[in-house]
């Protein structure tokens, strides 16, 4: 027997093992529910008297009926003592018939619970994965991986990916079940959640006791309690075994592709964490004020999208702040470019004494964020009568971004050969002409990068603006949004709706330049 055939045989055994494990977990009872199926009260009785015995017998009969149908039924009695109007002490005896229902995973595919969708998908993936492995090896069992026919190669590729996604879905499925059975139930039972209660109970009752139970579901499930078994996690190793088998069949080895899948898993995880605050910002921006502070909120998205939040913030002056931001950032960019392009041009093309000193001067200025100089800047601005004005912010932002602008532009210019400018100079064009007619058009991408970078930095600036601006109508958006979070009352929905408006444009701009920017910041300048 060849090496490949032996390996394929191991892989097929693994597929089988995965299937058996999967099926075994599916048939195990994993979720236990305690359901009250019948309640009967017997008022004004004493334990042991005639009325008590009568009621007890009735309840017993009902329980027997359940048992006859092959179900477990347990009778529980609860005694509460009471004093009636005549001063006699009597008891209220409450009899309940309880069932413990153990559910395995086969109860899911047919149910209308929301987590059932995930399980159906999971099941489909595993079946596809298993069958693809079978079909892909049927005709080419012992063949080496590189000699595989195209069809089999494709079929075999399916298995590892299906198993990979299935393994992730298992985790999602378990968490979704917690949401459906534990959290949602306790919120309804505690009265924290009322919307959609009937449908939820009906779906749950159908899941637990079949379609007949859906009618009086709410009374049946009022005292439902739920327990879960951790054996469900065995589905993960089942999927991983299938994954490994698939990799062996498709690639003849598992290491490289498994590493790549772990890499993708890592990147996806990091992306999800990065996106998380943006997701929170998005959903909170469109929720009602009451929902933003609701600790029993149970949805992924707002129950009702409040587009009014946007019109509300428009009334509260946000367009003015946005306009101020556009002016500050736009003006700062313009000034920074008008001063920066000539300087970068001289730095890149001309030889002069003190070139190094100027470079040092520029880099030094980059070291100081305006924050550490706050007091000096505030003093300077009040001397120039520029405090509390967008013009002052413009100049400050331009000055503190000068270093980066020169840095990026110089890197761009240096990377372009000076021959064309030299030719233009010989043709009688002055240095100004050489810059504007020859160099600027070819260095457009670099200039746009620097432009956008300065714009974004100025747009996002917060500290100087809080210190300098005192009039509400002069605030840029970063300061403007803080009006929604006063000490005693934070209007989260307005805060995040405004934040969203402030974030979206710059994020789009940033994505456009990201690639040029990092290259420019790290190497463009240093390489010189």
């Amino acid at each position: 027997m060849t090496e490949t055939a032996r390996q394929n045989r191991i892989a097929m055994i693994l597929v089988l093992l995965a299937t058996v494990l999967f099926l075994a977990v599916c048939t195990m009872p994993l979720y236990y529910f305690n359901v009250t199926v019948h309640t009967q009260k017997s008022p004004n009785t004493f334990v042991g008297d005639e009325k008590y015995t009568e009621t007890r017998a009735e309840v017993e009969q009902i329980a027997e009926g359940f048992r006859a149908e092959g179900m477990e039924a347990e009778i529980r009695e609860e005694v509460t003592e009471r004093t009636n109007s005549k001063g006699e002490t009597t008891s209220l005896v409450t009899f309940t018939v309880e069932q413990t229902l153990a559910k395995n995973l086969w109860s899911f595919p047919g149910s209308s619970l929301s987590s059932a969708h995930i399980f159906r998908l999971l099941l489909v993936l595993v079946i596809i994965g298993g069958f693809a492995a079978m079909l892909g090896t049927r005709k080419s069992f012992g063949a080496a991986v590189r000699d595989l026919p195209k069809r089999d190669r494709r079929l075999r590729s399916i298995t590892p990916y299906a198993a990979f996604v299935a393994a992730i879905l298992v985790v999602v499925f378990v968490l979704a079940n917690n949401v459906v059975f534990s959290r949602t139930l306790s919120l309804y039972q505690g009265g924290h959640l009322t919307e959609g209660k009937e449908e939820y109970y009906a779906a749950l009752a159908r899941f637990l006791m079949g379609s007949s139970a859906a009618e009086n579901a709410e009374s049946l499930l009022q005292h439902l309690s739920f327990e879960k078994s951790n054996m469900i996690w065995l589905l993960v190793p089942a999927c991983v075994i299938l994954l490994i088998a698939g990799l062996m069949l498709r690639y003849g080895q598992i290491k490289n592709t498994l590493l790549k899948m772990l890499l993708i898993l890592f990147v996806v995880g990091v992306c999800l964490i990065t996106l998380y605050p943006y997701y929170v910002m998005l959903i909170t921006a469109f929720r009602s004020n009451q929902e933003t502070t609701d600790m029993y909120f149970l949805h992924l998205l707002p129950t009702e999208w409040k587009w009014e939040n946007l019109t509300d913030i428009v009334r509260k002056g946000v367009p003015r702040y946005l306009l101020n931001s556009v002016m500050v950032a736009g003006g700062a960019t313009l000034i920074a470019m008008l001063c920066g392009i000539p300087a970068a041009y001289a730095m890149a093309r001309m030889d002069f004494k003190g070139k190094k000193a100027f470079l040092g001067f520029v880099i030094m200025s980059q070291m100081f964020s305006p924050v550490v100089l706050l007091i000096g800047i505030a003093q300077l601005m009040s001397t120039l009568h520029l405090n509390d004005s967008v013009w002052g912010l413009m100049l400050i932002n331009a000055a503190f971004n000068q270093a980066f602008a020169i840095w990026l532009l110089r890197g761009t210019f240096v990377a372009i050969s000076p021959e064309m400018e030299q030719a233009a100079l010989i043709d009688g064009c002055g240095t100004v002409g050489a810059l504007t007619k020859v160099l600027l058009p070819v260095s457009a991408p670099g200039i746009v990068t620097a432009l956008i970078f300065v714009f974004i930095n100025s747009w996002n600036e917060y500290t100087i603006s809080t210190v300098l601006i005192s009039t509400a109508s002069n605030r840029p958006i970063t300061v403007g949004i803080t009006q929604f979070s006063s000490f005693n009352m934070i209007e989260w929905q307005y805060l995040f709706a405004a934040s969203l408006l402030a974030t979206v444009p710059v994020v789009i701009l940033f994505m456009a330049i990201e690639k040029h920017l990092t290259a420019g910041l790290t190497s463009g300048g240093v390489k010189g």
Binding site: L373, Q379, E514
Partner: protein, 295 residues
């Protein structure tokens, strides 16, 4: 010839003039201003008085929160820069591999860099709220925890959260600097190393780290400066409360000068901060200038 000849010797300086003016007025002048103020008596209303020598510095060092604030600043810079550099490096290594959807991943991972810090801090402020914060909500809903966790039970934990947010927003800068460095490495180097039988760690130690070192140095030094100067995160999340226990130098000097009206010690602190930055700047300059000479 590399470059172009100018007609007059003074011409390059004319080209530089606007830039020099801008920086001189709005960066250099405030520096001088702060220096002068730090040696002057300043009244609560901001009127500048006589020269009083080092009195403001003595006052600043004797402020009750001075030691706490300096320690906080130290831990803030070290933890945020250190951890974000490490994580950013790992993420950059991952992004440097070829896989489907790499472009999308890059676009997503750059997001925190493009977002205003005050907005990021506000969102995290909401996420970790005890009563209704989204993190508690999600963890409770999915049954990961049974009882809401108070993520802000003490100021130490709050400070840790601030550091976490700092790390979160700093990672993209490191990632993309390192990534730019990684992408400039010639693939043949790795191929040669594989032929020589080098493993993952050897390749990392002998090729990757030496070659991304310049990018890593630039990003680390710049990050030290940014993180040191960072104001919005702490100001938005705790405002330094309680009693300046979560303040760093920057937020503390803001509070001192604009809330407590102690402008004198605040300017002294500014100068101290300025000198610390100068030290970093000097190191950075040395590195950059060396890079210039090598080129």
């Amino acid at each position: 010839m590399k470059g172009i000849r100018t007609r007059h010797k003074w011409e390059p300086y004319v080209w530089l003039l606007p830039s020099i003016l801008l920086i001189a007025i709005f960066v250099i002048f405030p520096i001088l201003m702060v220096f002068r103020l730090s040696f002057s008596e300043i009244s609560k209303s901001g009127v500048v008085g006589d020269f009083i020598g080092f009195q403001n510095y003595i006052d600043a060092v004797n402020l009750p929160a001075f030691k706490t604030v300096m320690l906080n600043t130290f831990w803030w810079v070290i933890s945020v820069v250190g951890i974000s550099t490490l994580l950013g490096f790992i993420i950059a290594m991952a992004l440097n591999q070829k896989f489907h959807g790499r472009k999308i991943a890059r676009s997503i991972l750059v997001l925190p860099w493009a977002t205003s810090l005050v907005i990021q801090a506000s969102v995290w402020n909401y996420i970790i709220k005890y009563e209704y914060g989204n993190l508690n909500n999600v963890l409770l809903n999915t049954g990961v925890i049974d009882q809401a966790v108070n993520f802000r039970s003490s100021f130490r934990i709050e400070f840790l959260w601030e550091c976490t947010v700092g790390i979160f927003v700093t990672i993209p800068f490191v990632t993309f600097c390192v990534l730019a460095g990684l992408q400039s490495i010639d693939n043949e180097l790795y191929e040669a190393a594989i032929v020589d039988g080098a493993g993952f760690w050897q390749k990392l130690r002998m090729i990757t780290i030496p070659l991304v070192k310049p990018a890593l140095t630039v990003s680390t030094v710049l990050n030290i400066i940014y993180v040191f100067n960072s104001f919005p995160i702490i100001y938005t999340m705790t405002k330094g409360a309680p009693a300046n226990q979560t303040d760093t130098m920057i937020t503390y000097l803001y509070m001192l000068s604009f809330y407590d009206r102690k402008k004198g010690p605040a300017t002294a602190l500014s100068v101290i901060g300025f000198l610390i930055l100068c030290l970093c700047a000097g190191l950075y300059m040395r590195f950059v200038m060396r890079g210039e000479e090598e080129a």
